[in-house]
Symmetry: C3
Subunit: 154 residues, 3 copies
């Protein structure tokens, strides 16, 4: 029987893909006490980086928000493995958002809301998190965004 | 009666403004066990970003240090809410400093000292922290700097 | 008598230099519970930043991997002081990798593997970590890379 969070994902039409291995010599997550620290997630979809380029340049901020949403879905994939059951997630502690962009970009918050909004949609009050969002000169594999996360589990 | 840290702030002539809401769908801080994780703070003053542009370009490193100091004051605003009383702060664990700057900038440490020095002025030995400072291509709302923090409370 | 990890370092031909003070008003590490949070480390060697410039520009990704490896060695220097004995390290929890690079750089993961591979060589399974790697516009003292770390000790 699906848990409450799984039911919420179904309601949102979100199907978590199978976990994929990181692109290098590290692991998707580490559990330290009741904290789950998850590696930075690129906006992978169907096995490839689906949003590339620079936000505010070749990519609109609306598209970047979708990319951040996808990166958060990829965090959920690993969080589910870490927690066993997403209902065990007590709190989304912190999200870090990295937006590949040039010096003139200013709408980082709008882009990162793609991840933050989904966090609250999925987890409700427990989904409200501390957040740091910055603009970066480039990201692995030319990804347009990257999102990392720290979560607390029961 | 003001606590010791509040007294120190008064001595330094620092008046903490009222807490303001984040610019997007997240919260200013999350408490996880005895850790307080606070969202990245822009150098807001009187309701607006008071230091904009690129450090080493349109802004001097001395001004950037003032901006980092202001960002740390904004961390204190939320830390006070989280801890109830700033005297309960056991340790400033980590500060992350983000300096909007071009490829030729090298004085990130000087800029970030604006935050680090104030941390030690306010909290003494408990204010000595681990720190990571990097240069970033751009920041939300064209802010010149952003500072995030992790703190331990009793 | 050297511990197991010290023996491993000797086997790898790695001599940990004496700890050096940070370049500004902060400390190399903070212990919070069983977590050790270590400040971002530049690729210092013999008292100076040995890898400068931009990766993908004036520096090859192979050289950047060596720089990340050196930054990880510098994390070990402080971790040893924090833990007393490196054998007390239970887990490398998270590494953050910052690669100074222009907008066209895409091989961040290859560079950061210089740190990640050494982590696994030194600590084995305990060395497998969560990781976030991003490209940044500039770093302190024109360093080509910077690596920060969070570790769990017994």
């Amino acid at each position: 029987m699906a848990g409450q969070i799984e039911a919420k994902l179904i309601e949102l039409g979100i199907v978590l893909p199978a976990p994929t291995a990181p692109v290098a010599n590290y692991v998707p997550f580490v559990i330290a006490g009741d904290l789950v620290v998850i590696s930075g997630q690129l906006p992978m979809l169907d096995g490839k980086v689906a949003w590339t380029g620079k936000v505010g340049g070749t990519m609109s901020v609306e598209e970047a928000a979708k990319a951040c949403r996808q990166s958060f879905i990829n965090l959920l994939v690993h969080l589910k493995v870490a927690a066993g059951d997403l209902d065990r997630v007590v709190q989304v502690v912190r999200l870090g958002g990295f937006i590949a962009s040039g010096p003139d970009f200013t709408q980082h918050a709008v882009a990162m809301n793609g991840a933050s909004n989904l966090s609250v949609e999925v987890f409700g009050e427990r989904g409200r998190h501390a957040r740091t969002t910055i603009g970066v000169s480039s990201l692995p594999l030319d990804a347009a965004v990257e999102v990392e996360g720290m979560f607390r589990i029961a």
